[in-house]
């Protein structure tokens, strides 16, 4: 059944705020565990890979491997955080708990609900990114105020991967479906986008693919900032991430309308 009203642009309102607050209130009940997770994840990666692998490696792009890895980890961690929230938690709220149904009976629209999901998942990314940055400082890896830019970057990466992830949530018949996304999208993203090694190491074809992926653009912003430099083409990278965000928001919203506004 096609319905032209499913394709109208998002109509936004401030009604997303109470929904965001609802998600925050749920999170507050498990805040301690959640924050520990946000901190433990980067510590394990940075210490394990950074010291383990780093001791075997020469300097990479002019810095220690540990610092090289730190720039990738900020982005990777924020991507993961938003993706898990948008897929698993989002699906639970939409399908299993029927939280969305309850909300939609009030003067709130599906557009507000989807916007709140994206902003909440991005908020989780903001927490994850800030936690990674904290670990980076505590390990004494970054010595520059420029590294603070990683915080708004985490929010942007969160918005981007929340929007893309919600497309899967809108299509998912069950939780099992998300395996495809993690195996076919998130894992390649992690390996192709310069998180663990420079993209220049890849064959030309894969480099071209990497340039199209949003995580590459995030890494290209984060790494120079942690190193005390300004990223080149920052405007382009931000524009790509914003482009993915807006496209993901629109496509997921259309799919949610088709799924739910029946």
């Amino acid at each position: 059944m096609s319905n032209s009203s499913h394709y109208t642009l998002p109509r936004l309102s401030f009604r997303f705020i109470p929904i965001w607050r609802r998600h925050f209130l749920v999170w507050k009940k498990v805040a301690a565990t959640s924050i520990l997770g946000h901190l433990a994840d980067p510590i394990i990666y940075l210490l394990g890979l950074g010291y383990g692998l780093g001791s075997l490696l020469p300097e990479m792009e002019g810095t220690s491997y540990l610092l090289f890895l730190a720039g990738g980890t900020v982005c990777y961690s924020t991507m993961n955080s938003a993706s898990f929230e948008a897929l698993y938690s989002g699906f639970a709220r939409m399908h299993e708990q029927r939280t969305w149904d309850a909300i939609l009976n009030t003067p709130v629209t599906l557009d507000d609900v989807v916007l709140a999901e994206i902003l909440w998942a991005a908020s989780k990314s903001l927490m994850a990114g800030t936690a990674v940055l904290l670990v980076i400082w505590l390990l004494g890896l970054a010595h520059t105020w420029l590294s603070l830019w990683a915080i708004p970057l985490a929010l942007l990466v969160g918005l981007c991967f929340a929007s893309l992830g919600l497309i899967m949530t809108a299509l998912a018949p069950s939780y099992d479906f998300f395996m495809y996304y993690f195996t076919l999208v998130i894992t390649p993203m992690m390996l192709l986008c310069g998180v663990f090694f420079p993209v220049a190491q890849l064959p030309d074809m894969l480099q071209a693919a990497s340039a199209a992926l949003p995580l590459s653009h995030a890494v290209d912003i984060a790494r120079p900032l942690l190193n005390g430099g300004l990223p080149s083409h920052a405007f382009l990278h931000v524009a790509v991430l914003l482009g993915y965000t807006l496209a993901g928001f629109y496509v997921s919203l259309v799919l949610f309308r088709r799924r739910l506004a029946q």
Binding site: P18, R21, L25, I103, L104, P107, V108, T109
Partner: protein, 321 residues
């Protein structure tokens, strides 16, 4: 043995338009080429308790969703509290409460938190919601469960909390989709009592149900739906008088079917055999009862006609789905 009546013209209520708070004209909705709602027309006045009855799959829930503006009709018009729906559904829903068919309380929150968070969706200030919570909990008999987690509540408590949640914004209209399905008789009676209190306060109630006693006790007016259409409409009493002979004698036991085919037509204006029971519809039960008195193999029950008889006559006895 059934037939469907055409909906009688309902011009009678046109003069009450001032008071109409829910209206629908020629409402149609199809899914995947299958028409689920086929030209429905409804007008519900302020303060009315209106029931939508129908077997599973009759289109009741879809009708509610259309009236609330949660889905757009293929054609037709909906008015809710003076607003055009779905275009201005948001404004209309500010003054509406909804009790959904399936419980969707927030499992992570306490009873009171569920009310607080829900009130915020209506744009209410926390202070205003907090001020309403004690009264709502009282109404739902849940004052002692204020801080309980949702998974620890019984089915009846969850339903009552869902009703309280629907009242958080002090709505003028309350939509209830099968409000007592799955509840035990005690829980059901408590919900009925609360719904009558709401009706007495002047709230407009629109409920769907397939419990005939529920509809008969609560509703001022009913519409019986089948296959996406309203096939009859009126007060419970008027519907019974319009469609059914005043007395029913149910004859059951081994051989009831055989007895019915041989004798029932002689004593009853109309009869139906369903399984081992024969339903005899009569104006005057005396001769039939005298006859049955002599039939030692048969047992029988003599009762006034009720809404279930109307419902089964109009929608048939065969299983749905």
């Amino acid at each position: 043995m059934t037939h469907t009546d055409l909906l009688p013209p309902c011009n009678a209520r046109a003069s009450h338009q001032m008071n109409t708070v829910i209206s629908a004209q020629n409402l149609r909705k199809s899914y995947a080429g299958q028409e689920v709602v086929s030209g429905i027309r409804i007008a519900i006045a302020k303060g009315e308790c209106f029931g939508l009855l129908g077997p599973n799959g009759a289109g009741k829930t879809t009708t509610l969703r259309l009236l609330l503006g949660l889905t757009a009709p293929d054609s037709g018009e909906v008015g809710l509290l003076g607003q055009e729906v779905p275009r201005h559904a948001r404004e209309a829903r500010l003054r509406v409460g909804v009790v959904p068919q399936m419980d969707n309380l927030d499992p992570d929150f306490s009873v009171a938190e569920n009310l607080l968070v829900y009130g915020r969706y209506f744009g209410m200030e926390d202070d205003a919601i907090e001020a309403r919570i004690p009264g709502l909990l009282e109404f739902a008999n849940l004052a002692h469960k204020r801080d309980a987690k949702i998974p620890t509540l019984s089915g009846g408590m969850k339903r009552r909390l869902t009703l309280a949640r629907a009242l958080v914004n002090d709505p003028e209209i309350i939509f209830l989709d099968e409000p007592t399905t799955g509840l035990d008789p005690q829980a059901r009676h408590l919900i009925w009592q609360r719904l009558r209190e709401l009706a007495a306060q002047g709230k407009t109630l629109l409920l769907t149900t397939h419990f005939m006693d529920e509809a008969e006790r609560l509703c001022h007016r009913l519409a019986i739906m089948d296959q996406g259409r309203i096939i009859s409409e009126g007060s419970p009493r008027a519907l019974i008088a319009q469609h059914i002979e005043p007395q029913v004698v149910e004859v059951f036991g081994e051989g009831a079917g055989k007895w019915a085919w041989e004798h029932a037509a002689h004593y009853a204006q109309r009869f139906e055999v369903s399984g081992e029971t024969a339903f005899c519809y009569v104006g005057e039960a005396g001769p039939l009862l005298a006859h049955l008195h002599g039939q030692s193999a048969l047992r029988y029950l003599h009762r006034p006609a009720n809404l279930e008889d109307v419902f089964l006559k109009l929608t048939g006895r065969e299983m749905r789905e």
